[in-house]
Amino acid sequence: MMFGLSIRNQRAFASGTLFLGFAMFFYVVALGYPAGTAARMGPGYFPRLLAIVLAAIGLAVMLGAMKSTAECQPLRQWDWKGLAWVTGSVALFALLLFPAGLIGALFVLIMVSSKASAEFTWKGALANAAVLIALCLLVFVYGLGLRLPVWPSIFN
């Protein structure tokens, strides 16, 4: 490639970029806190120190990925759909817990997350939801007595 530079190890390069990105974020935010001196460190001293160390590591990892001896590793493909179903179902559970109660929130959590499986069937997921909701009520609400809103808030 041009200038003889190429990213042979894409995986490592991305990892280094991740480190550098976090380091810069923490450094910039830490500038807002007083640093103090080594003998009397303020709240900003240690974060800046760590951010500099992380930035150095990030750069070293990125440079290592461009060395001519670096192993060739492409970036791996993401399963965006699976990630969206799983993460989305958790967020929906949090969103629905108070308005819809545990029963409603669990139902949505189980149905939505089940969609992430390649072997999804409506019948299977509904049966699974029925069993799991009953189990949770038994164990967490009646057994352990956790403070959970069971029914939708309109019933209260």
Binding site: F26, P43, F46, G82
Partner: protein, 499 residues
């Protein structure tokens, strides 16, 4: 004898009916999650942490410890019967254990694993009881700079021993430490990295983080190979090893136990490292190395003993020095924090019933596991017929309720969802998550000790290198770094840590 007096104290705690019940429950749950692939002791302990709030501290820790070492037993069942590691420390057991199963000797392999684990568990319990006193006494001599040096050594070793390139492991440690800064700075009261969000004033809770990374993100990863996780099983017959089996497995068990006991103590060590090291050792020592990979009983007896011994002795650095040696121990710190117990040398003097009760419960737990595993093995194998598409929503339900119940609030659930995406990115980038969690847990203590050391020395960093104790700890850390950078060792390590 002090030791016997202490063990008697422990017995009176561990043998209380309630505590026996919690130990049993922990072992049962541990076996269950060990058997089921895709759910490790980490996510389970994280899930149960909030629930232990209601229990007395002894019972809580006894149960959580039971989950950890119970998972080592259960993991071997899956490894042998279906050639899948139910738990990461059982990876090597799949090699020879499953070959034995193919030859119709699954029962013998399972019995070997259970007997080896039991023997190793007993020895490691004694080692824990014997070593704890002297180590805790040493720890009392430590000041801020020594603790700082010790934790640096621990984190370096943890990155050396984690999978993936060393530099990236260290990067994960530092990133974890940065994340640990979120919240109130104790010396000045300043809110750092909280952005005015009240739920962040107490810092990032590591339960949502661990759950996001090791629970939810792991599920997304497993789903990519969905279908392959549906498992077939076979009938288990004939549990009894022959005389020849015994002759071959006993020396392997002894060596595995010794190795596991030693390696478990190392920061970053524990069950996984021990089992790999033991397999390599057995293969080296064997007169018939060609049998390895084809059903050598030594390849089951050694690693299975080693991982159980390592799991148990990994409690030593936590209980005596206050330094968690692996991620599961980091979660145990969380459990102790819930009950206002500061892990470290004072646990033994301030909470003798807790300390010795926990140790004795480990021995009792191992006995329970032997009974749970041998006669009931058929039942566990049946569990493997549950398809993953029914299993993972259940895991998600338990994790979500567990996260919610930390503070009875939904903020932590959203947090876990965010860390699911972050954890998935780590999996795709092949970055190790264990050093991140250790950095997160040790970060506040490192900062505090560093700041105190610097106040005492009036900002002179050189004290870290002139005080003999901290200098030698830092020198050990430096040697570890130099060694790992040497080309020959680097390739050997890559081979050893290869899955």
């Amino acid at each position: 004898m002090d030791l016997f007096h202490n063990l008697a104290t422990g017995f009176s705690t561990a043998a209380q009916p309630a505590n026996l019940l919690y130990a049993f429950f922990g072992c049962l749950l541990g076996t269950l999650i060990g058997v089921l692939p895709g759910l490790g002791p980490l996510a389970t302990i994280a899930m149960l942490l909030p629930i232990t709030y209601a229990l007395p501290p002894e019972s809580a820790l006894i149960m959580l410890a039971g989950i950890y070492y119970g998972a080592q037993y259960g993991g071997s069942t899956t490894a042998i019967v279906v050639n899948l590691p139910g738990e990461s420390s059982s990876v090597v057991t799949t090699i020879d254990g499953h070959q034995m199963a193919k030859q119709g000797r699954a029962g013998v392999a399972l019995a070997t694993a259970a007997i080896g684990s039991f023997f190793a568990g007993c020895v490691a319990t004694l080692a824990l009881a014997a070593l704890a006193g002297p180590l805790a006494a040493t720890a009392l001599l430590f000041g801020p700079k020594e603790f700082f040096a010790l934790m640096i050594l621990g984190l370096i070793l943890a990155s050396v021993l984690s999978s993936g390139p060393f530099l990236e492991g260290i990067g994960m440690v530092v990133l974890g430490m940065l994340l640990s800064l979120v919240g109130t700075d104790l010396s000045s009261g300043t809110q750092r990295f909280a952005f005015g969000i009240p739920q962040l004033f107490d810092g990032l809770d590591f339960v949502p983080l661990a759950m996001g990374i090791f629970g939810f993100a792991e599920i997304v990863k497993n789903l990519e190979q969905d279908g392959k996780l549906s498992l077939v099983t076979q009938k288990i017959a004939n549990l009894f090893p022959t005389r020849d089996d015994f002759r071959r497995m006993i020396p392997a068990m002894l060596r595995g136990t010794a190795l596991g006991t030693l390696l478990g103590v190392l920061p970053g060590g524990g069950a996984v490292l021990s089992s790999f090291a033991s397999y390599t050792l057995e293969k080296k020592l064997s007169k018939h190395p060609e049998q390895f990979g084809k059903g050598a009983i030594e390849g089951v007896a050694g690693p299975e003993s080693a991982n159980n011994a390592g799991a148990q002795t990994s409690f030593i650095p936590l209980l005596t020095l206050g330094v968690p040696s692996n991620v599961v121990m980091a979660l145990i710190v969380g459990a102790m924090n819930i009950h206002n117990i500061q892990p470290g040398p004072e646990v033994m003097t301030k909470n003798p019933t807790l300390f010795w009760g926990l140790i004795v419960s480990m021995w009792l737990g191992n006995l329970m596991l032997l009974i749970l595993n041998l006669p009931l093995v058929g039942l566990w194998v049946k569990l493997l017929t549950i398809p993953y598409r029914y299993l993972f929503p259940a895991i998600m339900v338990f994790c979500s309720i567990g996260v919610y119940s930390i503070n009875s609030g939904t903020f932590e659930v959203y947090e876990a969802a965010v860390f699911c995406v972050f954890g998935y990115a780590l999996i795709k980038l092949q970055l190790p998550a264990a050093p991140l969690l250790l950095g997160l847990v040790l970060g506040p203590a490192i900062e505090e000790n560093f700041r105190r050391a610097m106040v005492l020395s009036r900002g002179d960093v050189s004290v870290l290198f002139t005080s003999p104790l901290s200098a030698s700890l830092l020198a050990a850390a430096a040697i570890a770094v130099v060694l790992i950078m040497l080309p020959t060792i680097r390739t050997r390590r890559q081979e050893a840590l290869q899955e």
